[in-house]
Symmetry: C2
Subunit: 208 residues, 2 copies
Amino acid sequence: MEKSPVSAAVIRRLPRYLRYLGELLLRDVERISSQELSRLMGLTASQVRQDFNCFGGYGQQGYGYNVAFLHREIASILGIEEQQDAILVGAGNLGRALINHISFERRGFHLVDIYDRDPKLVGSSLHGHTVHHIDLLEEHCARHLPSIAILTVPRLAAGEVVTRLVACGVKGFWNFSSLDIRLPDVTVENVRLGDSLMTLRYRMKQRD
Amino acid sequence: MEKSPVSAAVIRRLPRYLRYLGELLLRDVERISSQELSRLMGLTASQVRQDFNCFGGYGQQGYGYNVAFLHREIASILGIEEQQDAILVGAGNLGRALINHISFERRGFHLVDIYDRDPKLVGSSLHGHTVHHIDLLEEHCARHLPSIAILTVPRLAAGEVVTRLVACGVKGFWNFSSLDIRLPDVTVENVRLGDSLMTLRYRMKQRD
């Protein structure tokens, strides 16, 4: 099915729609109007309709949206049903928290390997995965060809690790390091926790 | 000093400017042109100039920006020099990772207390802070009046915790729970790690 390009803002909202629709499914809600869905999500009804129009509609006037159908469609647009292999590099506090906190499978990724260079961590087990030494990266990647790397290494280590991962064929980064990765043919999703906290500080100040 | 309202997109870029300017300071760079700064940051020079114009300029034609001055100004706009007290609720994996990973002081907040309800965590020490039982929340908050709460509790616990925190006078949330907080007079900065991962999945799919 051909899809027209969709704005970044709409794409950012898709996971949110999926979350709300998933909750409606759990509550056995079969149909929902754009009014009800928008009220639940704190959007306007016209925004919901516009967003869904980007993907070809799905609603019927006066009848609402079929929740299960819409959930499946958005999951399919996001691509989360075709899982890609992911590795995590950096098994420190943040890496461990992500592994325990995030359900990768529900987000379209399958975690295959974990790497670190700290001898205290190498060989330990995390959520059923053994932490490997980073020196095994090339050998393992040649076999497993992971699509993405979750990068939770300190900034000083990040540059070298990124170079090695790209040489291994990694095409995407979920980047928690403060290094800005700018490379051709590589997709990067930066998570800037410190920036988010400063934005909160600014918004609090504006309120005062 | 009066400031005109600034768009959300510009505000999101301020912490990034601060990071880059901080690095230039560390490298003893005194002046930088909008061209050089934009190249470093992967923006266009006109975007950099437009962003700084929102706050009244600071640049001189053909002379560039004074790095230390600009760094101070942006820090002051963000408000990170006047620190506000923060508490963390939820000392599980994610809460612990944030405490170890994020320098709150450099982002305008001073961490004063940590709470959890898990008897295995209560009484333990995290980064120099004792984890208190959540039942002490009201008593402590009456004394310390924290401005913000970092919310790293599971979704099912989040609703009750938010209600209690707002009753305690908490005015801002750095929200890692998947509960959408929508309350009047409360500033919320949501961090949706799962959504970020799904956005990466989508963008990888578009590339294929």
